[in-house]
Symmetry: C2
DNA sequence: TCCTCGTAGTACCGTACGGTACGGTTCCGT
DNA sequence: ACGGAACCGTACCGTACGGTACTACGAGGA
């Protein structure tokens, strides 16, 4: 685990403060507002220091992604025994957290930034964002999947595929819509409940809770 | 129906050719490659004509979206009687078409463009893209939903919600990943089959095909 | 005290873009 | 044949950005 963390270069406190300002500028005004001059002015540093620390503008953007990823820490599943209700609760918590993260302003701004850069061939920002930003939450979900299967609560042939099913049920096209500027949901928890209900109808081991065709009966 | 089409300004053949070139430039080199000078050079027109026709650069981008939307035409469901197999086939065809559209280069480029502009407050591109690009395919899917319900083949309390469920099952996080630069699926048809299978397990009226908890058994 | 290192602040350069202006040309109606 | 509208090609302007160079200044060490 420490080996994984060592491959991302850590920055000095001063540099972290500068990166924090950079994220703030990006969130407030979009990519166009994030200029080297503007960042130097806002962070009370010199452009020369920026180029010394981060190489060039792309290096700065990559550093911002790495820095933001280093801030997001997700909790591992507690090691206790897993019941059906506990699994459902963990899944719903995961769904709420996922929606919360995806609708966060910093996340949206960084995704917009990476997507805007994605057309360029040599851009590694998209890859970086997927690797750093998603790996944590993906591992947490897949861990949950396999724990559920080991406990006899879930049935699926492929944990990865099952996770993508859960992801789609939770997020649907919401992420893209928010990236395009639409507002998020009013109630993330409700969406998470619906998604987990459907997911358990598909992959839950016990169908005795409700009929499979009666999903969303509470709507 | 004609009233809906009349609100989008149609362009002359010459202007359509220019917009086609603009899309080509955008797909090839991203937003940065789409400059007024470059477009004028590539399309053998003058910058003055561009500004006369489209007002300013944002008008050009909006015109590109409208033009592309005018090219995409989706088929309505044929009026014949709906059986379970026919519904499944229509749903799978919809899924394949949806994946095909979303993974298209022009679609990805326009989405990247609109997302890049989405941070600016006054940008209507995201709204435009959702309205023009999605309305057609959304209507087709929701029509399919309600036809299925009328035929007693589907059960759901809310067609819109059911459609979003189907959408999530089909697309999952694929759209965002492709926007970030990842490659699409190898087999869209297989993904559509899986998604429709799961969707019918959730909302299909006849659960006798297979047990609800045994989805994806063929994987 | 003096030297060195790191950094802030600023001035500067080359480039590229959006947008405008203008001369020359083609095409159409009369 | 004439006149005007539309349009192409190009030159031009103001601006703003990425990146570099240079000076000033404060901290720490010999």
């Amino acid at each position: 685990m420490t080996a994984e963390l060592s491959d991302m270069p850590e920055f000095s406190p001063r540099q972290n403060a500068v990166l924090e300002q950079a994220l703030k500028l990006l969130v407030d005004g979009g990519e166009k507002a994030l200029t080297t001059s503007g960042l130097a002015r806002a962070a009370n540093c010199s452009k020369e220091s920026l180029y010394k620390w981060f190489g060039d503008r792309d290096g700065l953007l990559a550093a911002m992604i790495a820095y933001q990823a280093s801030k997001v820490r997700t909790f591992e599943r507690s090691g206790g025994r897993l019941t059906a209700d506990l699994l459902r609760e963990h899944l719903e918590t995961f769904g709420r957290d996922l929606l919360e993260v995806l609708s966060g302003e910093v996340s949206l701004a960084l995704n917009r930034l990476a997507i805007g850069q994605a057309s360029r061939e040599g851009s590694k920002l998209g890859r970086l964002l997927i690797e750093h930003g998603r790996r944590q939450i993906d591992r947490r979900a897949i861990g949950l999947m396999e724990a559920g299967r080991r406990a006899g609560l879930l049935r699926f042939p492929d944990a990865d595929s099952a996770y993508h099913t859960l992801y789609g049920l939770i997020v649907s096209d919401l992420h893209v819509r928010m990236l395009l500027g639409e507002n998020g949901l009013k109630d993330n928890a409700r969406q998470a409940e619906r998604a987990v209900h459907a997911f358990l109808s598909l992959h839950g081991a016990s169908q005795n809770t409700e009929g499979a065709g009666r999903a969303h009966s509470d709507a």
